[in-house]
């Protein structure tokens, strides 16, 4: 084989080695969510398909695949079909820069964190195009809510990321993790950590901020008109986004692939294990929050984003940089 085709083959294999585990863990995450919700509400959760019901989500996917894909007659056909694809593509291409361990990453680029921020901010297009192309009231309202909500919370996510970047002095994700070797940023930047998790809930349209798909007022929000596999793609993308935001939280605040304490039996375990465990813990928090909190009202959501998070993160950026500057701790 020529070197170019060899390189291409390796690249494609690398991509598959990220995408396939992500899609499988989406299926397991859906199962986990139903089990956790079941446990919180004193039910059993899925327990029929496969051992402990673990194959339930695969059965659900098969069911979705065999259903008829309905196209509303008054919709914009191209955009209607394109929107779920776009959402899923965006939730998968972000994995190109996520470092699972110090060597295991598809593309180690200089501006990794900005790339992730850009891709996660494009996510709103899938929702807004879906809502508009459906040409129906509830999806449209869902799309408007989603656009306003995601833009509002991106602002505070941006400031949280800036705070971390000030402490690191690099936009490279591997550098960000390696600077947390001795102390995870979740400890000195605890308020930012909490704000980031809450904003991630809003950014992925999860409860208690799932107003774009608020079933009590909007039927199913932006994907009301979707059926079969086009609905399935939205579903996949939502959960893949949850995993992505959890990985981002782990990279920014929980020290990526580093063990909690750098002592012998812990640091002998491979980094991928620690990464997955941390992502799992953050995902469990997502599900826990869903089972615990009631949904926010829309004005409460906007108030939290603009009047509490924005000023707080802005002040915290100033405080952090002043602290680092005064004590000469700024990275070069």
């Amino acid at each position: 084989m020529t070197s170019l085709s060899l390189e291409l083959t390796i690249g494609i294999l690398k991509i598959f080695s990220f995408v396939v585990p992500v899609l499988v863990s989406v299926a397991l995450l859906v199962y986990l969510e139903r089990k956790v919700l079941g446990a919180v509400q004193l039910r059993k959760g899925p327990n029929v398909v496969g051992p402990f019901g673990i194959l339930q989500s695969f059965a659900d996917v098969l069911k979705l695949l065999t259903k008829e894909n309905l196209l509303p007659s008054s919709s914009n056909k191209f955009l209607f079909i394109f929107a779920p694809m776009l959402t899923l593509i965006l939730s998968l291409i972000a994995w190109a820069v996520i470092p699972i361990s110090s060597t295991y990453v598809i593309a180690n680029i200089n501006i990794g964190i900005l790339y992730l921020f850009a891709v996660s901010s494009f996510g709103v297009y899938g929702v807004i195009i879906a809502g508009w192309a459906s040409n129906s009231k509830y999806p449209f309202l869902g799309a408007l809510r989603s656009a306003a909500q995601m833009i509002s919370y991106e602002v505070s996510i941006g400031f949280v990321i800036i705070t971390v970047l000030i402490c690191v002095g690099s936009l490279n994700l591997i550098d960000i993790v390696e600077s947390q070797k001795n102390m995870w940023f979740a400890i000195p930047l605890l308020p930012m950590f909490v704000i980031f998790i809450i904003s991630a809930l809003a950014e992925t349209n999860r409860l208690p901020f799932d107003l774009p798909e608020d079933e009590a007022t909007l039927v199913a929000g932006f994907f009301t008109e979707y059926s079969s596999i086009s609905f399935g793609l939205f579903f996949l993308a939502e959960y893949a986004n949850m995993i992505l935001m959890s990985s981002l939280t782990v990279i920014l605040f929980l020290g990526g692939w580093y063990p909690p304490i750098d002592i012998f039996p812990l640091n002998a375990i491979p980094g991928i294990f620690w990464f997955v465990i941390k992502v799992f813990l953050i995902l469990f928090v997502f599900l826990w929050v869903r089972a615990t909190f009631p949904r926010y009202r829309y004005d409460q959501l906007m108030r939290l984003g603009w009047k509490i998070f924005l000023p707080f993160t802005l002040i915290w950026v100033v405080i952090t940089s002043a602290f680092l500057f005064y004590f000469g701790l700024l990275p070069n």
Partner: protein, 199 residues
């Protein structure tokens, strides 16, 4: 070869999408083509090695500005025919701006920049650090001035839209939170056959 090929590919896409922005029948499609145009210019920036500028363009214009465009355009009920009728009035103005921008590009590429000047930019640091080095030192005043211009635009927009109307009902979060049960509910003991006196 690969670089040149991708440049022409993205440049061709950029020009095509820009043409579609102007000639789309539906304003929502125009905005979506505008997003594609921004995306292609991001690719062009990345091709010349300015990945920081490219990705910032993507974050600011695709991630925020175009979404707000889309947000507004989706809610407007625009009659396409009237828009197309009026379009001829703006051609002279458009030509004027196009001429100014073309002159700027010619000035910057042909007269201003020499090859030696370009070489000084190619140094070992990545371009994020290069921008950081000059932005707050050499171009400090320009940077602050552009910030003030943006602030003025923001204040202007708020002043134009934020009209206080006393008839509109608003949520007062503080009064909502400070409400206690005694303010809203009271326990009344009713004697049989008398009912409640409304007071």
């Amino acid at each position: 070869m690969f670089l040149v090929g991708s440049f022409f590919l993205f440049a061709a896409f950029l020009i095509t999408t820009c043409i579609f922005v102007i000639f789309s029948k539906n304003p929502v499609n125009s905005v979506l083509f505008l997003v594609l145009a921004f995306l292609n210019s991001t690719f062009l920036f990345i091709l010349i090695g300015a990945e920081f500028v490219g990705i910032i363009l993507a974050i600011v214009y695709i991630g925020a500005v175009a979404i707000l465009f889309l947000f507004v355009v989706m809610m407007l009920d625009i009659q396409i025919t009237t828009l197309m009728f009026n379009i001829k009035r703006y051609i002279p103005l458009a030509l004027l701006f196009a001429g100014i921008i073309l002159a700027e590009i010619i000035y910057l590429t042909v007269f201003k920049t020499s090859k030696d000047n370009l070489d000084t930019f190619i140094i070992s640091k990545n371009n994020t650090e290069q921008i950081g080095d000059v932005l707050y030192t050499e171009y400090f005043i320009d940077f602050q001035l552009s910030g003030i211009v943006l602030l003025l635009a923001m204040i202007g927009a708020i002043v134009l839209t934020h009209v206080y109307r006393p008839t509109i009902k608003r949520q007062n979060i503080e009064s909502q939170n400070s409400t206690t049960a005694e303010d809203r509910v009271k326990l009344v003991k009713i004697k049989s056959g008398e009912g409640i006196k409304d007071d």
